[in-house]
Symmetry: C2
Subunit: 460 residues, 2 copies
């Protein structure tokens, strides 16, 4: 059969927006270890999680058996505002790199939140509304997640409080303004609106805050009200589930043109975009249907997969969350200033961690200046100014394509372009000015972080 | 024949990107008056214009007879990076407004330049390259045009100097940074790189500059080099020609679903997006094939159509350009601070001016606070954070849809959503803080501007 010529952008129709999410948990032969209740060190039950998260999300979090989970029609309606997202054939980049490789990228940045985060924000806001809740809380650092959730809450008519790391809210006033435009209340953290915040303020007056502290405030605010829950933008299984629309759409678009990819590349911070992108491809690999190479790309400044430990650790630095078995640098690890804000997380999604542990994927750590070099090249050639986070995947996709030029291999490469960098121009300025520096933690730096890993029997 | 259900977003295929631009000049029974050489007050010849603009653009500027003009395949390849742009059915907005009207918008903001400006930037950069030029110059105020041209010049391998109004380059450092990322040299104007700039600096040390001064510098830089030309982002006929892809794609998408619009709405500053959006629809109206109502929306602070004079005037405030017959507030008119940066132009495209003069369209002036009210509403309901400029069209589209609710009329409304507001959050902040003010020039203010209109026989 003659193959169709592949356009620059493959758009599915609205009817082809997935009707079900893909649950990678169900596809995995060995499941990841369960979350532990920090008080009892026993596996978390649904009841342990329900005061914090929406009931439906808890159900999805614990679901290890259903490979496909229906997407409610209301969420699909929301998705229609900005999905299907385009799968782009990077013809221009291929030409400039003079590579025999075919490069494809799934572009998730063409929505006002500027990233893939909206896929899970829409779902979590919907479930909160369905449960009759009045409001949700969350934290945000770089701001992409807060923006996405603001849009979703505005759509579903939920009040939203975003605890934004104070120093970040001062450095990124425009991010804050987008959230306000969508009606969210943005509170610089630490704040005097919670016990946790007041405690920190008393102990460290004048502190710029941290993500750990912002999480503590958001969770406290949620659990102290019956009509409020907390929502999280990455790491958890149900977030990866929602993000599987990325992979499902990518696969449908590639199937339409008979393209079988050899390599799938994504950046990894908490792991939700990567987990979503690879989901159906990885499921097929586990089932013996393909031999795709999966590559997670992390910043060299925060190398949880490539240099971390696979142990139980807290998901936050304030040590109030359940314990997850994951690759971690230790919940007390403080990554150096780095512009890949969304990737500066000490741990990693338990699903992604387990896949890595089983050898089903590999990981690469890249330095910031190399990432921005790739970002600028990509912007000039493909016409999209990428987010620093996304540019980690671009870096490795380019490197792989260059290898193909050398070996003559006609690899088919797919990578996830998670978002745009319009609110990251301060970082681009540093790169353009030649003042950007790299940072790689020493073994001694890492040892300090590892010391914060809880000393529990499961970690012996 | 049963009509197809209309999706949220109508995407044409890449093959359906127009192969020809639509030349509104050829469709007009009475053409607009010719440009005048300011030295002789005689109609400009091609030779008058060629030292300033690329040869092919001059040819298009003077073409009053060919209704369709071929789009070179190279430009279509560039267009494929971000076109076709979606035509969106605003189902969510219709529902919230509880209107029987159908609302459609053509969204031109899904590219890194963030606006429709890229359509003409691509064409003008291509023609400059084809002519063997090494570089081009331009000026930018709000920054959208400079960004678009930076992207196009990077793609075609042309050097670019952007004279950016000094106060704007200081207020919008991130806009400047996007241009630098695309390799453009951004020079705050006035500068010491030109005679014009040095003169202004000597006369007004410490001035923040003006668009008129930036134009003077860019033109001087271009005409004093054989391998360089000047490019302009609006007003001129060839710019409107390039922007006709907006209207052609809109019409093709609507035709596919059998939708005949009753009203077409666009914001007007220099007139290029509006002229491009309406082009094929207006051509049909002139030919008696439809009775569409066209509405140009301008800021009340800079009301060239609704309160200006239809006379010959300079296109710039430094009085160095040819004279155009247009609606103008006088080339010396200084609009008050206002966030619709891209619409703060004293004049108006000669084509749009002539259409307005002939009664083929109407114009509405709207106040800034009402515009931002519509912008925020639209962002929350349709999920796209619009540029302040684009939001002028949104305001009137909403007003028209509300009228339909009152009259019960099932009007089909199309408006142009020219771009996104990611670099305009300072304006949104003012709106969110409640500190935004409106400004409407008094008759005395206007009289001052009118006094700057040249006193030539053609204006008697």
């Amino acid at each position: 059969m003659a193959k169709l010529p592949i356009p620059y952008k493959i758009y599915l129709s609205e009817e082809e927006i997935p009707k079900q999410w893909y649950n990678l948990n169900a596809a995995m032969k060995t499941k990841h270890a369960p979350f532990l209740n920090p008080a009892t060190l026993q596996p978390c039950s649904a009841d342990d999680l329900k005061p914090v998260f929406c009931d439906d999300c808890v159900g999805q979090e614990m679901n290890m058996s259903d490979l496909y989970i229906d997407i409610p029609e209301d969420i699909r309606s929301f998705y229609k505002m900005y999905r299907p997202s385009p799968l782009v054939r990077a013809y221009c980049l291929e030409k400039v790199l003079d590579t025999p490789a075919e490069i494809y990228y799934k572009f998730e940045g063409n929505n006002t939140s500027g990233s893939h985060k909206l896929n899970s924000a829409a779902a979590q806001a919907y479930y909160a509304k369905k449960q009759g809740l009045k409001s949700v809380t969350t934290e945000t650092g770089a701001g992409q997640w807060g923006t996405a959730l603001s849009m979703a809450c505005s759509y579903y008519g939920l009040d939203l409080i975003v605890y934004m790391v104070k120093v970040s809210s001062e450095q990124k006033p425009y991010r804050k303004e987008v959230m306000r435009t969508y009606g969210a209340q943005v509170i610089p953290s630490p704040s005097d609106t919670t016990e946790a915040g007041r405690k920190i303020l008393k102990e460290f007056p004048g502190t710029g805050g941290s993500l750990g502290c912002a999480i503590s405030e958001a969770v406290e605010k949620a659990v102290t009200s019956d009509s409020c829950r907390y929502v999280l933008g990455s790491v958890l299984d149900h977030v990866l589930l929602h993000q599987s629309v990325i992979g499902l759409e990518s696969k449908a678009a590639l199937d339409k043109y008979g393209v079988e990819v050899d390599t799938v590349i994504g950046c990894v911070g908490g792991g939700s975009n990567f987990g979503g992108l690879i989901a159906p491809f990885m499921g097929d690999k586990i089932a013996g249907k393909n031999d795709i190479e999966f590559i997670g790309v992390e910043p060299a400044s925060c190398p949880s997969l490539t240099r971390g430990k696979f142990v139980y650790d807290f998901c936050d630095s304030a040590k109030i969350t359940p314990l997850a078995k994951m690759y971690t640098l230790g919940c007390g690890f403080m990554p150096a200033p780095n512009h890949a804000g969304g990737l500066r997380y000490h741990g990693m999604s338990p699903i992604v961690s387990e896949l890595y542990h089983q050898g089903l994927m590999r990981a690469v750590a890249v330095e910031q200046s190399k990432v921005f070099e790739a970002a600028e090249m990509f912007a000039r050639i493909e016409g999209i100014l990428p987010a620093p986070e996304s540019s980690h995947a671009i870096r490795v996709a380019i490197d792989e394509a260059i290898k193909c030029r050398e070996t003559g291999k006609k690899k088919k490469i797919l990578f996830g372009l998670t978002g745009t960098g319009y609110f990251d121009m301060a970082a681009y300025k540093q790169y353009n000015d030649g003042t950007m520096t790299d940072y790689i933690p020493t073994d001694a730096d890492l040892a300090k972080g590892f010391a914060s890993i809880p000393d529990i029997p499961q970690n012996k």
